[in-house]
């Protein structure tokens, strides 16, 4: 079995656009490792990712965000979901 070290693990970065983020919490709900949390920015709730080391790079936060406020890099290389696929999660937190 090939040994996997820290160097083999793909490095990632989660970027959150606070202007687009409405603090709905959808990304927090779908993250399988509960990496994301809400913080107050100028009195408004925004998502933050303080410790990204245990992010799985599943892109669930990105797929489910109805506001395109969160991106995981490097980008997901497989088939992208359609805009229609994003809609079912959005209606639950209408603002």
């Amino acid at each position: 079995m090939p040994k996997v070290t820290e160097e083999d693990v793909v490095q990632i970065e989660i970027k959150i656009d606070e202007e687009k983020c409405v603090g709905c919490g959808t990304c927090i709900e779908v993250c399988p490792v509960q990496l994301l949390e809400l913080k107050k920015v100028d009195g408004k709730k925004k998502t933050s990712a303080p410790d990204q080391s245990f992010c799985l790079k599943c892109h669930m936060c990105e797929f489910h965000c109805g506001y395109e406020a969160i991106k995981v890099y490097p980008p997901f290389e497989g088939q992208q979901p359609t805009d229609q696929a994003k809609a079912p999660m959005r209606h639950r937190h209408d603002h």
Binding site: M1, P2, K3, V4, T5, E6, D8, V9, V10, I12, I28, E29, V30, C31, P32, V33, Q34, F54, C55, L56, K57, C58, H59, M60, F63, H64, F76, E77, G78, Q79, P81, T82, A85, K86, P88
Partner: protein
């Protein structure tokens, strides 16, 4: 206490790698193996579609993930993968994906499930190997046996996968569900009972399966199976996780084991 054979016969058990925040891990891989071990499986060794499968005979280990990706074969089964991972020490993922050999056209078995401290998801299906509009007999023969189970669990079946390419592959009894936060509540037990029922039906299907007689149907099913496998290999979002956790070489091998 029920006796399970997974640890002795395959080399791991459900709590080999603990997941923070998931109390009382249900012995789901053990329960799957109790069904699978009736199919005369043997480890898939050596070359499979350009990949050497031998590294998967051992448990996998990386700073981000630990678990088992075991692949097996039998007289009728080209490849079946029993997959159990703990990711980032926080999330459990399990899967069973099985494909018929070229001489058979029974459906592809699919179980996929994950849970952690927060909500997770799961899905189960018998994926048809051919078009079931033009081949309604196929649906009647292989898939309609799931109708009673599907109706019994209809209340927990939730929205389908986000990914349109995946929805294209699924059968009429495809079931998708969301797990709630870790715990031993009745809901969680029910949603894990559903895939086990599908797996039992699939195992019975395999035991009764006869080789394809029509050469044209055989050729068509082989072609469609290969496309299905290629799509799972290339498009499955779990590939992103596997490459992140295991790096390109082992991550690609894990995906080939799954697809």
């Amino acid at each position: 206490m029920k006796e399970y054979h997974l640890e002795k016969e395959v080399g791991f058990k459900c709590d080999t790698w603990p997941a923070k925040g998931v109390p009382d891990i249900r012995p789901f891989p053990e329960e799957c193996w109790e069904i699978l071990r009736t199919l005369d499986l043997k480890p898939l060794r050596g070359e499979y579609r350009g990949f050497n499968m031998d590294p998967l005979l051992e448990n996998v280990d990386s700073p981000m993930a630990k678990g088992a990706v075991r692949v097996f074969e039998s007289e009728k089964i080209e490849k079946i993968c029993l997959w159990w991972q703990v990711l980032s020490g926080r999330s459990i993922s399990g899967a069973v994906i099985g494909f018929p050999r070229d001489d058979y056209d029974f459906p592809v078995m699919l179980i996929d499930w994950d849970e952690g401290r927060g909500p997770g998801h799961g899905m189960v299906d018998h994926m048809p190997l051919c078009d079931i509009v033009l081949n309604e007999d196929y649906r009647i023969k292989y898939l309609d046996k799931l109708d009673g189970i599907y109706r019994d669990y209809y209340d927990i079946i939730g929205p389908p996968s986000l990914h349109v390419w995946f929805r294209t592959l699924t059968g009429p009894y495809y079931s998708f569900f969301r797990t709630k936060s870790g715990g031993t509540d009745e809901y969680r037990q029910r949603i894990l009972n559903l895939p086990l029922k599908y797996l039992k039906e699939w195992a019975d299907t395999v035991k009764e399966a006869k080789p394809i007689e029509d050469p044209a149907h055989r050729e068509y099913c082989i072609k469609r199976k290969k496309v299905l496998q290629d799509w799972l290999y290339v498009r499955d979002p779990v590939a992103s996780v596997m490459l992140r956790c295991y790096g390109k070489e082992l991550g690609s091998l894990v995906m080939k084991g799954l697809s």
